[in-house]
Symmetry: C2
Amino acid sequence: MLKVISVDECINLFGNIRIVEDEEVDIDDALNRVLSTDIVSKQNLPGFNRSSVDGYALKAKDTYLCSESMPAVLCYKGEIKIGIKPEIDIEDGECVYIPTGGMMPKGADGVAMIEDCEGLKGDIVVNKSLARWENVVFEDDDVACGNLVIGSGTTINSNHAAVLSGLGKTRVRVKRRIRVGIISTGDELISPYDEQEVPKVRDINGFYLKQVLKEDGCLPNYYGIVGDDEEDLYNSVKMALDENDMVFLSGGSSAGNRDFTINIMERLGRVLFHGIAVKPGKPTLMADCHGKYIIGLPGHPLSCAVVYRFIIKKLIDSMYCRKRDELYIEGAMAQNYHKAKGREEYLPVTIKDGIVNPIYVKSSAISVIARCRGFVRIERDAEGILEGQRVEVLL
Amino acid sequence: MLKVISVDECINLFGNIRIVEDEEVDIDDALNRVLSTDIVSKQNLPGFNRSSVDGYALKAKDTYLCSESMPAVLCYKGEIKIGIKPEIDIEDGECVYIPTGGMMPKGADGVAMIEDCEGLKGDIVVNKSLARWENVVFEDDDVACGNLVIGSGTTINSNHAAVLSGLGKTRVRVKRRIRVGIISTGDELISPYDEQEVPKVRDINGFYLKQVLKEDGCLPNYYGIVGDDEEDLYNSVKMALDENDMVFLSGGSSAGNRDFTINIMERLGRVLFHGIAVKPGKPTLMADCHGKYIIGLPGHPLSCAVVYRFIIKKLIDSMYCRKRDELYIEGAMAQNYHKAKGREEYLPVTIKDGIVNPIYVKSSAISVIARCRGFVRIERDAEGILEGQRVEVLL
């Protein structure tokens, strides 16, 4: 009996998936990797009280009630240099020049801005009264020791690289990259590098999967095209399974060769499901082979891309323990769209000026993939979308 | 006289920037590169008339008015294999088995689905009438020869890789990568790899710029930290300028060292502007050095990131002739936000359930960069945003 499951059931399965191990990498190599521990600050930042302006560090009480008509006159004790510990302590009636970012000297509890001060025969005249700690950044204003700064499961981008370098975290623990073997199957397939002879078809899925796996931080290994022969395919899958964490088999799930894809899966492990109630993408299979996985993906390129984007990506996220924000744009449907009940559907659309137009798919995979801006998810039991209805276009 | 320009004036300047040359790369290396020519199909796709179902190819007129109670009985002439040119021609009263994706045989103009047919002593019984060309995909249904498939200026992602491989475009012309030298300046700076001694500060901008430039498809070259010394800095900038298309100098634009940054720029080329009327990020400088550029970026990490994100990224896009869609999320402001007139402002915010909260910045660069979900742009002459007002959060 062939087991067809819903998208939700499929994603629930991924809750029990094998999670990959950690490794440590340099921050320069951490871009697009998934953080496997929380980043907690081990220190206060900036780590010392500093001035937020160019001016004079002083005791705020010395400027009490002073103004242009009744300025404070303070004894100038010298200059603090940026990056150097001040050697001057401020006593009553004294001040010292401090640049933006300079470390506050002992005794000072405020900085008068340079535009509010004047020099007078070696003294400094302050024309404005100052509140205590005015223009001072405290040592833990940015980050306090013990603060959670970046959460585990975050995909590291350039902003996180900035934060990590600010904390001195030059080595970070991330999930090691998932290795994925890719096999394209079908007697009709040829390499895009080869001359096309009608009615051969170029392998699109293998090249798509290679690149999308890179985007998702995996290490793809492309094993090329295998014809519709069970033993050839078995040998290729077995080798790819030995050398990787997962094997993606594209095209091996359509009616013509589903049977021997299932046979191969059963020879190497246990089939988890034989289909997913999703449109497009129903002919998707998965087997658990002792903690490694074989995924049979539809041969039709648009179906393969949809199943990857909305289902297999979540499997990869689960293996990485990745937390991801779904990005979408809102818009209004330009026309009614009718859908049959019983299958969750991902409708390719364009969106312009807030108007969402479905792209009608015959078998025109390439033009849809090129034009499509995103997908509208329509729930399993919905019967369609009405003209003018607000929808989320998933990117 | 110091020349401070508006954000719009600055971006207009980029219209006259030097555009980088093309190079040819393999599709496997094309991810995240900017396409420098239109991709126009040189052929029809799929390139031959094919069946969209498993079934029997036949002449549609032979099924005219037929039904389960009055089926058509057709002479079975054999089987078409996928990927192989059919050698059978269909005459009146004949049919041939065809799999999904199989090439239509001569003479046939429709495919009866397998579920509407039965075998009968070597003949095939068709229980349903068929329209002409039903279940047939025409040779140019996906892409017609001469169609524009991907436009010049597109940043190549995995979807484009799929399309390119489908077209057999295994080599593509892209912009060569822009080489950017990065120098961090300031006597207070130390490397994140070194032990921090108060009041030294770790170099954040250098590490941020390295990673963000990679994200934007450039080749960053980090030259490390240079102290506040004009001759040292001149020598470093000169070397970096020789070896790259651009040099980013972070921290060399604050009050303390702006003068010698300007001197260096004038020694090597012509200063285009000394500041931008933007908050944060005003102390941003740019010089044209005979078709190469020096950019002086603010030392404050949040300012540096904002200037990169909203201004310098557009310079890079101009050099690549990149077309980019601005991504944003809409939401409602949680509170009033007051702003001074005269500077365009980029307000860091969080967004949750459609509610946008400003992050108030003192000098807390790292915590803001870590928490910030995006920025709200407030126009130059606006005085702020009202509670409840709809805003776009730029990602």
